[in-house]
Symmetry: C2
């Protein structure tokens, strides 16, 4: 759990880790967990045929997983077919839990998710965090974490890890926030301020949102572009079921893709960046609104009422997004583009111009654009689930600690 969770790219054949029998066993334990987790209650024989091992081998793997409390035997299956019915296996609802936390601009939230993916405990505190110092905020968050952990423990769960989503850039050590403009935090080592008992990961909320989409979304393609707008405009690139992070961890900065090469100057030093057209500030200005508390809700409300200035501003933002996405789609050839975060709520007014722009600039069928069903819950759920996935990916590791 010291390595960053869910690296986008497993090492190739040239990697340095030895390939020994223990490693084989660990991978096979993981494959059993993944199969049972993904395809519901399954008999040992069903698992065996799916992963290509023999029933005997799966039996010993399952025994070990049951002993460590990661799998549960549900009892005999209702037999519709001939032959002895199997004994249904399911992922345990009483073992390790993933604790997800989110530091938002206007709220703090924490939740616990069991291996089955069910949210078993949660806590939220509303109130602006913009401009507050990190220490009191993290202290408050720690309080929420302790409450959620206590509640989870009452249900027979124990915390396998804590993943924190923050609205800012996070260093590749997955502990320190390099810069979070909307909170006004810089180079803050969050890890030092949080409970040390639980293994910790910190990541950008856009990344966790994209992972939530990958793991919990409806269609769940393996290659897509997830666009969200919280800190300016961020995108997460998902390739082959993993996150593309970039050399310095800064990949996905869609907000600074040039849309109009000689457009207005941007804070990044460039000109005509997407953020100058579709960023929160730019849209509010174009709509003739003052920046205030719940800015996204305000925009959505006005647009729904039929406010022409707001609708026009969103239409223009959608057009700019369409241009930037045309470039991204040409470069990456993703299976789809998903709008998440704040953009999901504004989608009805962004989508028409966005899709029109994407369509007319693409030869052949355009890349489909969809809207996240998870909306603002994405990052929190993604964080909690990242811990759960880490357990599924290496069940032997929790056995060593449990």
């Amino acid at each position: 759990m010291t390595a960053p969770l869910h690296e986008a790219h497993p090492a190739g054949p040239g990697r340095v880790l030895p390939d020994t029998q223990q490693g084989m066993r660990r991978r096979n334990l993981a494959r059993v967990m993944h199969t049972v987790s993904a395809e519901g209650p399954l008999s040992r024989a069903a698992v065996a045929s799916r992963i290509g091992l023999t029933r005997a081998a799966v039996s010993t793997l399952v025994d070990e997983l049951i002993r460590t409390g990661l799998l549960e035997e549900l009892g005999p299956e209702r037999p519709g077919r001939v032959g002895r019915p199997g004994s249904a296996l399911a992922v345990s609802g009483h073992g390790p839990a993933g604790i997800g936390a989110e530091i938002g601009v206007d709220h703090l939230a924490v939740c616990a998710v069991d291996l089955r993916g069910q949210v078993r405990a949660r806590a939220v505190r509303h109130g602006a965090n913009r401009g507050r110092l990190p220490e009191p905020v993290i202290e408050e968050l720690t309080g929420l974490v302790r409450r959620v952990v206590a509640e989870a423990e009452r249900e027979g769960l124990w915390p396998a890890g804590l993943a924190v989503a923050v609205p800012g850039l996070v260093a590749r050590d997955a502990r320190t926030v390099v810069r979070a403009p909307n909170l006004d935090w810089h180079d803050t080592d969050i890890g030092a301020l949080l409970p040390a008992e639980i293994p910790l990961t910190v990541d950008n909320e856009a990344n966790f949102g994209a992972l939530a989409e990958l793991w919990l979304g409806e269609s769940t393609p393996h290659d897509f572009l997830h666009v969200s707008a919280e800190i300016g405009i961020g995108a997460a690139v998902v390739v082959a079921g993993g996150l593309l992070r970039g050399t310095r961890g800064f990949a996905g900065e869609l907000g600074h893709v040039p849309v109009q090469p000689e457009g207005p100057v941007c804070a990044c030093g460039g000109r005509g960046c997407l953020e100058q057209y579709a960023g929160e500030e730019a849209v509010l200005r174009a709509a003739g609104l003052e920046p205030g508390e719940d800015r996204v809700g305000l925009l959505a409300g006005r647009a729904a009422e039929g406010d022409d200035a707001v609708r026009g501003a969103l239409r223009d933002a959608g057009r700019a997004l369409g241009i930037a996405l045309t470039g991204a789609v040409n470069l990456l050839d993703p299976e789809s583009v998903v709008l998440g975060g704040a953009l999901a709520g504004l989608a009805p007014w962004l989508l028409p111009s966005l899709e029109a722009e994407l369509d007319r600039r693409t030869a052949g069928p355009a890349c489909p654009v969809s809207v996240s069903r998870l909306g603002p819950e994405g990052p929190l759920l993604g964080a909690a689930h990242s811990v759960v996935r880490a357990v599924l990916d290496d069940p032997a590791a929790v056995g060593e600690r449990a």
Copy 2:
């Protein structure tokens, strides 16, 4: 060898292949080959310490690799240190060879590369292929292949595979050319026309060029963007040492990234695509030159002579490239950008404006831009080496065939 060579992303833990002891053995054989190949002559003990297995285990692996002719024992090492000197192992120079072929607009080329990476045979035929039918061209290429294979066999090599680089889009089956505008070929199954004795792969020449840069380049980062210009402007995205191909295999279409949203209409349906500013046709027009035979050489020659119209055209093209690359760099955060193919020859006049544009649009240190040392040889070498890498990746497979 039926699967496409060098998929960008090995399957994750949820894959369907069984993880059995034979698989472990195969992977360890591959790790030995890669280690010896990458780090020159090495003793068994040195290999063991590098890959994390015991000397005894490496001994048996090496025995098997020597038996199948993939490794060679060079004899005792010169000892500088205390202790019994090891026996140096090297990749064999007499085993399997990778045959690379290139179908260019103005030439055909074939070469054979041994496991050590040495070019051991080659054949070239100059002459325009634009507009010729596929059949006679492939027939001619087959002749060159047979000549190169014969020469390689005289040196004790045998062909482990044939990889063909073509200037166009290739379907994911790695056999059929979907469309090659500069040859005027469409939906041509190249595989059907080539010798069937040798396992075949076909890919875009830009992809092979990028792989050559990855495997043979000087600095060889693991994440970079390789830009070349043969068919319009193509880029190849290399992530974690693998090619990012996209859902339909169309990733890397940098030529159709919008640079000026309301610019001239492009064949792709868009407006102001990069190709309209930095494409071959556009540059020739801006320079006041007629499209003729060796267009790149012509441009380079005139620019070197000091022709202001040509230099201005290249400066403008560099600026447009800089804008498009700004977007790509923001999205992918690569370690560097490499100019290859035709662009390498024109780099002296493209680079200044390109880097200036990239620099002023980037906050903090800009992404370094370098020029490929391989130049026009890249795709051919990349093709041949892709076969060699496939052998290193699964040495057991050649043992089964040899």
